[in-house]
């Protein structure tokens, strides 16, 4: 297989391993130099306990609700449901700080639902996590349910299955293998969430990720940060292992889908169940979204600060998405080869999920501390961290498509000797252009909405749209924050919508 020229692709894992090394090694070195050793005191176990508690509760609520919501979405036909599906897709692309603003606006003291539940602490963190993860879980489960062969539903109709029997024989067997991995994924996202806990948590409601940040940036206690990081890395690694290859579980070749609507879901009791589930989900997802729109719609003021933040965000986003793509493409090629190269590439692809951004940022921060790089260095590190965090998500889009393209074209290309650049230009690029566009847009949107990297690595000089929102919220300029947040959300949503359209053209 000389024509595949795999060697050139190894620069991507090499760069990633270098970045990871630069993140982890300085932390170890400093810890040793300071004479510190891991110190698992009661405080750390308490933080771990809270991390696990909030993540378990958020995961449980998200998934238990997502199951009936997913069933309702696939089997009910009502004109308004298309709109609801779109609304449920919004949180998937919404910057975290915007959702936090929405939740604070509606459930805060002066909000429409002020006092319904305390938003600072466990309940607020859970609300925000369910807001993001319920739609995510419902969408993944609905995708799985839509892949049930139409014959199964015809059989169910012919054999007169009741709602319970459809669940037991048709839906449950499809969902069951998915649930552990989905739960692990949601748990991972909740356990590692940074911005939500930083903004909605408090002294007693702190997770490992935020505690690492506090230990390093406020107390500069490296050995404590190291201890916390070890616990966090162990937890994330366990969860990533559990989440497995969730995204690659779909069959390699697209199955031919007949246009058959589901024949169940017409009984009264079923409809009641379905619309109750949809109603509850709507009550969780809709209010913060409405609050963002209402609070922001009259407040978008084009100021110099806003334009500067916009330009900064766009620049960082472009750079980050280009880096993500130039890493993801070779990783996907290596993954397709399988074997050791594939495993290495898989590890590098999800490293951003295993090694907490707070740890990476700290290591880099320590490594470059002596260089006098100024704002350019900070910007460069923010770009790199954003790329690293976006990589796992971009890989889930790109890798299966690249593997499909290989499965479809490898034999033909081999038999006609089409390889290297010729193959990329005439075969892979035209076929995968929409996916490449999607990957770029995903990397861009994730970077655009991100507050984690800029909080961890930024110095005051670098202001992006999300950090401008956070600043304005912190200074009690809630009107201005609302305007900025709405602009940011609109930008992210329209780019995601574009990416979605590209995906449909595939």
């Amino acid at each position: 297989m000389q024509m595949l020229q795999p060697r050139q692709y190894y620069f991507a894992p090499a760069l990633l391993l270098l970045a990871i090394g630069l993140g982890v090694l300085p932390l170890l070195w400093f810890s040793v130099a300071q004479g510190g050793r891991p110190n698992f005191d009661a405080h750390i176990w308490r933080i771990l306990g809270f991390t696990l508690l909030q993540a378990s509760l958020s995961t449980l609520i998200s998934i238990v609700l997502a199951i009936p919501v997913a069933r309702a979405l696939v089997r009910q036909q009502l004109s308004g449901l298309g709109l609801l599906r779109m609304v449920f897709a919004i949180p998937l692309s919404l910057p975290v700080i915007v959702a936090v603003l929405g939740i604070a606006t509606i459930y805060g003291n002066s909000g429409l639902l002020g006092g319904v539940l305390p938003i600072y602490g466990l309940s607020g963190i859970m609300l925000a996590h369910v807001f993001f993860n319920l739609p995510l879980a419902a969408r993944l489960l609905a995708d799985a349910l839509e892949n049930v062969p139409p014959e199964s539903h015809r059989l169910a109709a012919q054999l007169n299955f009741n709602d319970w029997q459809v669940w037991r024989h048709v839906d449950w067997p499809v969902l069951r293998p998915l649930l552990p991995r989905l739960a692990a994924l949601v748990f991972l996202l909740c356990a590692a969430s940074f911005v939500i806990v930083l903004t909605l948590g408090g002294p007693s409601a702190t997770t490992l990720e935020v505690a690492i940040y506090h230990a390093l940036r406020l107390d500069f206690d490296v050995s404590r940060a190291l201890t916390l990081s070890m616990v966090q890395v162990a937890l994330s690694a366990l969860l990533v292992w559990g989440a497995g290859r969730l995204a690659y579980a779909s069959p390699l070749l697209p199955t031919f889908r007949q246009t058959g609507e589901r024949l169940d879901g017409k009984r009264g009791a079923t409809k009641l169940l379905d619309f109750t589930a949809l109603g509850i989900a709507a009550c969780i997802v809709l209010p913060p979204l409405v609050a963002v729109v209402v609070a922001g719609i009259m407040q978008v003021q084009i100021t110099w600060a806003l334009l500067q933040a916009l330009a900064t965000s766009m620049t960082l986003g472009c750079a980050s998405s280009l880096i993500v793509l130039s890493l993801a493409w070779p990783l996907a090629q290596l993954q397709n080869r399988g074997g050791k190269a594939g495993l290495l590439s898989q590890f590098c692809g999800i490293a951003g999920l295993i090694i907490p951004p707070a740890v990476m940022a700290t290591g880099w921060f320590l490594a470059v501390r002596t260089l006098n790089g100024g704002p350019w260095l900070a910007a460069f590190l923010v770009i790199c961290l954003n790329a690293l965090m976006a990589l796992p998500f971009v890989m889930t889009t790109l890798a299966p498509a690249v593997m499909r393209s290989h499965a479809m074209h490898d034999k033909l290309c081999l038999s006609f000797g089409i390889g290297g650049w010729d193959r990329f230009r005439t075969i892979d690029f035209p076929v995968l252009r929409p996916v490449i566009g999607q990957a770029l847009l995903m990397g861009f949107v994730l970077s655009l909405g991100d507050l984690t990297a800029i909080t961890l690595l930024g110095n005051g000089g670098l202001v992006t749209l999300p950090s401008l929102v956070a600043q304005q919220m912190g200074n009690y300029r809630s009107a201005a924050a609302g305007g900025t947040a709405l602009l940011l959300a609109a930008l992210c949503f329209s780019l995601t919508f574009w990416a979605h359209r590209l995906g449909e053209r595939r």
Partner: protein, 233 residues
């Protein structure tokens, strides 16, 4: 007897007019080019898709508005006839009782059906552990336990090799004679029709033609039919 009078099916640009009578106690094959609407015809009769206008009668009674399980027939598909998490025995038992709680009599019925399709020894196996031909025989056994007079085969044996396909067609013929069934089978292999069918329904250019005897069909006096058959005759 299955009777569709003044039937019209429409999905976007695709139209199918149907005016046919299919006689009881016989095997009728449905032939026609790809995309002509062979499977659609079976879906209409099974109740998975509806007619835009017209009446569907089975043994003289209108079933147009009945739901799939209320119609006196059983369909066997090309794939996915089995639920992958249930054993062969359970898959057949679903035909009697979706709750899978069977009386002794009903269990005996399941076993005799499995015996009839030569699967009794494999009753505990999951569909994933069986061959394609064995999985299709589960579909046939389930049709048998439902004790209805009509079986619809939607390219049920199309994915099987020639020898296996012939043996299942012969089994179908035997079952049809024993139980005096009406079997309506969609196939894209004219020789299937030659082997077992009494009549042929030909679908072309949006029209379902009335059944003719198999011998007459293969004389191919019609241009559309002879261009469909090509050199096969």
């Amino acid at each position: 007897m299955i009777e569709i009078s003044n039937g019209l099916y429409q999905l976007a640009d695709f139209k199918l007019t149907i005016d046919i009578k299919i006689s009881s106690n016989s095997i009728t094959a449905v032939l026609g080019p790809s995309g002509a609407g062979k499977s659609t015809l079976l879906n209409i009769i099974s109740g998975f898709e509806g007619l835009k206008q017209g009446q569907l009668l089975i043994d003289g009674k209108s079933v147009t508005d009945l739901r799939p399980h209320e119609r006196p027939l059983t369909a066997v598909f090309q794939d996915n006839n089995c639920f992958a998490h249930l054993s062969a025995w359970q898959n057949v038992a679903l035909g009697i009782q979706p709750s899978l709680r069977l009386t002794t009599m009903q269990s005996a019925l399941v076993e005799s059906a499995l015996q009839r399709v030569e699967l009794l020894a494999l009753g505990d196996r999951l569909p994933g552990e069986m061959s394609g031909g064995e999985r299709q025989r589960i579909g046939l056994a389930r049709a048998l336990v439902r004790q209805q007079s009509i079986i619809l085969l939607d390219e049920a044996f199309a994915a099987l090799g020639p020898a296996l396909r012939r043996s299942l067609l012969n089994l179908t013929r035997e079952l049809q004679k024993e139980q005096q069934l009406l079997v309506l089978m969609v196939t894209h292999q004219p020789e299937d029709a030659k082997l077992v069918a009494d009549h042929v329904v030909f679908i072309d250019e949006g029209v379902v033609r009335s059944p003719v005897t198999t011998a007459k069909f293969f004389e191919a006096t019609d241009d559309a039919v002879s261009s469909y058959l090509g050199d096969v005759t």
